[in-house]
Amino acid sequence: MKQMKLFLGPQHPGMHGNASVHLFVDGDIIKRSYLLPGMLHRGFEKAMERKLWVNNISLIPRVCVPEPDINEMAYAQGVEKLLKLEVPERAHWIRMIMLELARISAHLMSYGGLGGPTGHYTLMYHAHADRNSILDIFEKISGARVYHQYIVIGGVRQDLPKGIEKDINAFLDDLESRYIEYRDLGIENPSVVARIKDTIMLPEEVVWELGVTGIGMRSAVGKPYDLRKVMPYARYDQVEFEVPTSTYSDARSRVDIKLKELVQSISIIRQCLKKMPEGPVRVKPSRGQSMRWTVPKGYVYSPVESSRGEFGYYMVSDGGTNPYRIGVRGASYPQGLLGIEKYMPGTRIDDCALWVDTMGICSPEIDR
């Protein structure tokens, strides 16, 4: 039978972000598939070379739109490694609060995104309503809803506003009280389970072949391979949290792990708010005026655990005021490009949008 060519995207309600999946289908079964990236290419790596080290702080959050804070963290951390700079103690804790809030927001968005392909819009509305209250907290802390530019080289831009602990705690309590409701609405709901159970598999050998990280890997391998545990950055070694894992990676178990991580993030934020010391939040990375800051020569790779996996910046400095080269390792690069080419064939058209959603593919970080 002749294969029919279909385009899932770029303009398609099931597609997250601006990317296109080309499908060659026979009946309902996908025979071949490719991702067509590049619709969001902005030339980031070139643009960063042309800007000063300090200018880039405003540019980097835009690399990955749903979760911008990890970019700031990876960039700041990389530059601090090159500068051999010690960040004040309080700044570490504030950074952790920001990163975990961002992780909750990204997980909620992705969990609500499950509502799109399965047609369960009530789930989407509820998840986005909660995400919006995180954005409000971000606005109180940093002045911006989405692109905060809050984690800067040498600490954070300013101290937390007074009384923000109350807001954060109120939000966390609210979210925690409705955790069961979320599960019932989504992954315990029989009609959704029928869609996501035992489908879109990700076996362990595929994980190692593609180089998938993050939830995809942990759900298949069953070991706590989380950069926060394996090579703790900030002060993740001083808080207690578990890394949820499983050894059977279908779409449902990945979403399940996402929700369990949400609970862990809530507990991390609570610990941070308790353990956070007082003190300064920022040191100047270098002497003199900020436009003339230089960074010593060197190569560094600065990884951060994002909500989708290992997110890293590769930085090269030649000792000047501008970065010599900055490369971005998007967390969804392996599953997004090679994964779709090799492992999407064999699933059905119905699964395609779910594949993209539950594997955690974020097109802006693939394209840069």
Binding site: P10, K46, A129
Partner: protein, 192 residues
């Protein structure tokens, strides 16, 4: 004495009748704006709050639509790379008239933070007509909503005529598209 308010006009010319019909149509069009679900850039991240419970776009009669044929508004949410621009023009020409374009963010206005990028265009209204710009990087949800309300006002005042402009100056738009894009047609067979 005849009342001027309620007496029917004696004989309306065809243009006047058309105008009256058009005004009736405008009432429906501005109260039921469907936008196309095409997230071209990063400002699309502020659309979910606008669509969902926090700001609830549906109370203005707006809603997302799946395909370009069904939609009224083309939302250009943020920067446009060349690759997207090709598909955007393709999408714009598929939409049924009257169609409106709302551009979010600074990037469609003058390139914004990507003004010197090799892949991002600087000015959207060189390629397709734009009815409403919402400035900011990224614009707040409130300003996004305000942009839509502005569009409704423009439709009421008969100022949202971008699609007519596109008809009248088609050659100029096409020439601009060709200078920047080389070839406007979409070729998607690169993987084979």
């Amino acid at each position: 004495m005849k009342s001027t308010k309620f007496s029917p006009a004696t004989k309306l010319s065809k243009a006047e009748v058309d105008r009256k019909w058009w005004e009736i149509g405008d009432f429906f069009r501005r109260n039921s704006l469907w936008m196309l679900m095409y997230c071209t850039g990063c400002c699309a991240i502020e659309l979910p709050p606008a669509m969902t419970s926090a700001y609830d776009m549906e109370r203005l009669g707006m809603g997302p639509m799946a395909t370009p044929r069904q939609a009224d508004i083309l939302l250009v949410s943020g920067y446009l790379s060349l690759k997207t621009l090709r598909r955007l023009i393709y999408t714009y020409e598929q939409m049924s008239e009257p169609r409106y374009v709302v551009a979010l963010g600074s990037c469609p206005i003058n390139g914004g933070i990507y003004h010197d990028s090799h892949a991002v265009i600087n000015q959207l209204d060189q390629y397709i007509p734009v009815d409403v710009y919402v400035a900011g990087c990224m614009p707040n949800t409130e300003s996004v909503m305000n942009g839509f309300v502005d569009l409704m006002g423009q439709i009421k005042n008969k100022k949202a005529n971008g699609w007519k402009h596109y008809h009248e100056h088609f050659a100029w738009y096409k020439a601009n598209q060709i200078t920047s894009l080389g070839e406007v047609d979409v070729h998607d067979e690169f993987h084979e």
